[in-house]
Symmetry: C2
Subunit: 193 residues, 2 copies
């Protein structure tokens, strides 16, 4: 599928755009390509875009004072990613987003999203529901984190991203779960059985 | 201030409604009162409303298998609360919401929110941005949780809810932070100094 079709199929799950409206909507996205390991957003950057993933796999993360990496989100095809705190509040990035594999993205600026939301009613509806779902997912992850049962969190992760083990090195999965690599190996063996 | 005025002032920070539009918007909210300790949402309930807090203080929480309480959110005046996962997906509640103090709320049904979003453009804009902010807050809380520094989390909490110590018993603050009461006492003494 072409980028415009991938985006169209994604939007169509929530909102109804005519082919003309979709073409206009799509014209505001800028295709960007990144190599494995490249940064899309760096801590301290001004953040002006959000990204729709066409191909590849990314991680949103931060490194704390003890130089430990925490992964906030993986982003797979048809997921959106950015530092939304920085994007929405026009402040500097407090997290990093980089590419676990080569990645193809569509970038949409903050300004264009707001313009499109004003111009096309269904676009505003789409973004409202996309964020509603993101909000719920973030709350579910928080609940899962608070409940602090690493095995359940690992099973939830595999449900959310079934392809993860083929795409992502184990130390990144451990950083997402907030467990050591040893704990992850133990979980991996338990869950496989 | 009357309930209609409290809601109007809250909406006006984000969106622009004419007095007639606001009166129509407000007419869809149902005032409800709860006593200290009463449940607004119980695990397993069908969830059909979200709640705008006029007065009092609530907590959204769940109890895990080890009978340990985890607090997902406190809700103060002008905050919104519900089990959004259940509300948006029309599934049964997986968390509880109850009243830490007597509380006055305005209930809005899922159906009415969607109707109002279709009818009034600025209402859809308001709800999109309310959820955008909620999404960012949930992510910030998750980041803060992952980073696992109880002192910083405690300071963030006091910044977010400066009145908290006057409203909420210490064991609930500990349940929000995910620390023991002993750790909280230690933090309380450190941060006061």
């Amino acid at each position: 599928m072409q980028p415009a079709e991938i985006l169209q199929a994604h939007i169509a799950r929530t909102a109804t755009l005519t082919p003309e409206e979709h073409a206009y909507f799509f014209s505001h996205f800028k295709p960007v390509s990144f190599k494995k390991g490249q940064a899309v957003i760096r801590e301290g950057d001004k953040v002006e875009h959000e990204y729709f993933v066409l191909s590849g796999c990314l991680k949103a993360f931060f490194i704390n004072d003890q130089i430990k990496m925490h992964i906030l989100q993986f982003a797979m095809p048809t997921w959106w990613t950015s530092d939304y705190h920085a994007l929405y509040s026009q402040s500097k990035a407090t997290i990093n987003v980089d590419c676990i594999t080569d990645a193809g993205l569509l970038a949409l600026s903050n300004t264009d999203r707001e313009k499109l939301c004003r111009e096309l009613r269904q676009v505003e509806y789409f973004f409202r529901w996309r964020t509603n779902k993101g909000y719920v997912a973030a709350q579910q992850r928080l609940l899962s984190f608070m409940n602090n049962d690493a095995k359940t969190r690992y099973e939830e992760l595999l449900q959310l991203y079934p392809q993860l083990h083929h795409l992502v090195p184990k130390h990144l999965i451990a950083a997402y779960l907030g467990v050591s690599r040893e704990t992850l190996s133990r979980l991996y063996n338990t869950v496989k059985k």
